[in-house]
């Protein structure tokens, strides 16, 4: 079995997809870093000071002004109100939520990329994991060996889990190394607030506590990893069901992107909670960022993601063992 897994991982390394993903990260992260630095600089310039308290206060006031707009949908109003309460809490406790430094960038980056960017990177390697064996004709070689089919598929799945972990961790490491050039490499033990809870449109702060940033990062990347594994598992199923690389990838891209779109477009439609790709923003539970969709809780998100993964795995294994490949 270990031999099979090794074999699959070797194939993955040889296929150079992982290197393409690393390349994408190396190119994009500096761009994000630069953009972030520009935004901070511009904000500081507009107000005329880089004192974070003043900037934060101004942000709160600006959001209060947005609230007075009559064209704003109710759910956005609730979202902004919670955001304001959280920022006021930061201000009151004298904690800068955006203290500069590479670890802060890592935190912002994972919070922003967990629903779209990271899943897309995972899709790149997962969407044709099985189907590529069809297109290259190697599936026959693979299946005519005296190994049970489920073992072949399992070894592929395990290697996919490893690759997903590798991608998430590389994102973390690369975003640290690259953004540190501008922001500096310090700030691991900066205090971060966690434990915000929402109840009936009000922010509960009784469970709010400080976490050192390194621990927060470990947890945030751990949560994004769970989200990525669901994406990987569903892509894995698609790669079993669909034989062409292009359509497999197309299906997964459409699914991930529409999950993000649905979150923005129709947060009031309760049924979208049960669509796996609207549940990817697990890090929001950690940061206490208000959640736009009504009724979303952590157990529900984990449950939905878990259920999709299990069902996808069952479908993948059943289909793969019954399929007549030699025809």
């Amino acid at each position: 079995m270990i031999g099979l897994v090794y074999n699959e991982m070797l194939k993955m390394v040889r296929k150079k997809r992982l290197w393409v993903i690393l390349g994408i990260l190396v190119i994009l992260i500096p761009i994000f870093t630069y953009a972030q630095a520009q935004t901070l600089e511009r904000a500081a310039k507009q107000i005329g000071t880089s004192d974070w308290k003043v900037v934060l206060k101004q942000q709160i006031i600006d959001q209060q002004n947005r609230l007075t707009s009559s064209r704003l949908p109710e759910e956005w109003k609730a979202f902004i109100k919670l955001n304001i309460q959280q920022q006021e809490y930061y201000l009151k406790n004298d904690i800068n939520p955006t203290a500069p430094g590479a670890p802060t960038f890592m935190r912002k980056f994972v919070e922003e990329s967990v629903s779209l960017f990271l899943p897309l990177l995972v899709v790149i390697i997962a969407a044709d994991l099985v189907s590529s064996e069809h297109s290259s004709g190697t599936i026959k070689l693979l299946l005519t060996r005296p190994v049970r089919r489920w073992k072949v598929l399992l070894s592929k799945y395990i290697s996919l889990l490893f690759a997903t972990s590798f991608i998430v961790l590389s994102t973390a490491i690369l975003s640290y190394l690259l953004s540190g050039v501008i922001f500096g490499y310090g700030g691991w033990d900066l205090p971060v607030l966690s434990g915000f809870q929402e109840k009936n449109g009000a922010l509960l702060t009784e469970f709010v506590h400080l976490i050192p940033q390194w621990k927060y990062l470990l947890m945030a990347y751990g949560l994004s990893w769970l989200a990525c594994i669901t994406v990987a598992t569903v892509s894995f199923m698609v790669s079993v069901l669909v034989r062409s690389t292009a359509s497999g990838m197309g299906i997964m891209l459409a699914a991930v992107i529409s999950g993000n779109l649905l979150m923005q477009l129709s947060p009031t439609w309760g049924a979208i909670k049960y669509f796996a790709f609207t549940q990817l923003r697990l890090t929001d539970y950690l940061s206490g960022r208000p959640i736009l969709i009504e009724g979303m809780t952590l157990p529900l998100s984990i449950g939905v993601l878990g259920a999709w993964s299990v069902v996808a795995l069952i479908i993948a294994f059943v289909t793969f063992s019954r399929r007549d490949v030699l025809a």
């Binding site: 590798f166 470990l218 990893w225």
Partner: protein, 269 residues
């Protein structure tokens, strides 16, 4: 060849298992964290923080008030306050900073509440110039027409306004005894309508009220705006017929700039 193969085997598995387990640990930690919320440990740290001296905030202009200070109606989004800052910047060598704390739609009661917040107080402490517009929403209730044509209701609102503005000025003075406060008077956006006589009277009354309160304080300047919009309201008002447009704001900004530049030593700073 064999050792090479072995090395590759080890390195691939080492990287794979290491990344897998780090993230697994992270996700388990976060699930524990999120499913079993800890009670807050903040009280302690917050009190510790309070002892340490807060960092000095630089902010020469801190503006307060309603949609006028926000700049509603100006197509460029600047409003008088940004125009004023730009003009002041031209004659100043150091950076002119601006914190705009105005909330569109605010009444004097809202501003009174806002002033009492500790963070607002902190910002006011370091201010040198405090422009403020307030009262328009008390009198005109925000949207379009004058709703309270009943003189009694208007009179009641005026008394509240009087009390609030007194409270606000007293409070700002308590935080900051040096800054110059500029209070803008009201103008009549309905001066060209049929009820102009009545509304003009109200606006005049309210402005008088404000001036009377202001007279009690040092370094508080009343800037009239009534005259600016009196003759040709259409030209200087936005299409909502309530807020100034960019030309209107330009005129308001000019008044403020004039007064500030006149101040002793301001140009050399």
């Amino acid at each position: 060849m064999h050792s090479n193969h072995r090395l590759r085997w080890i390195s691939i598995f080492a990287v794979a298992i290491a990344s897998f387990s780090i993230l697994l640990i992270g996700s388990i930690m976060s699930l524990i964290e999120l499913f079993r919320p800890q009670t807050s440990n903040l009280q302690q740290s917050a009190s510790q923080k309070a002892v340490s001296p807060s960092s000095p905030t630089v902010g020469r202009i801190v503006s307060l008030g309603d949609s006028l200070t926000r700049g509603i109606g100006d197509d460029s989004g600047k409003g008088y306050i940004q125009l004023f800052r730009e003009q002041l910047q031209k004659s100043s060598k150091s950076e002119v900073s601006l914190v705009n704390l105005s909330v569109s739609g605010a009444t004097s009661t809202d501003l009174r509440k806002q002033i009492s917040q500790p963070e607002t107080a902190n910002l006011l402490k370091s201010a040198e110039i405090i422009p403020l517009t307030i009262g328009g929403n008390d009198l005109f209730r925000g949207s379009g027409r004058l709703e309270n044509t009943d003189p009694e209701t208007v009179e009641k609102a005026r008394l509240t306004y009087q009390e609030n503005i007194d409270f606000i000025l007293k409070d700002i003075r308590k935080q900051n005894s040096k800054a110059t406060i500029f209070v803008f008077g009201l103008y009549n956006p309905f001066g060209d309508l049929s009820e102009a006589k009545q509304t003009n009277e109200f606006v005049a009354q309210w402005n008088q009220t404000a001036q009377q309160v202001i007279a009690k304080y040092d370094r508080v300047v009343f800037i009239p705006t009534y005259d600016l919009f009196q003759l040709e309201p259409k030209r200087y008002l936005f299409t909502d017929h309530f807020h100034p447009n960019q030309y209107g704001y330009q005129r308001i900004a000019n008044r403020l700039t004039q007064l500030v530049i006149d101040q002793e030593g301001m140009e050399t700073k």
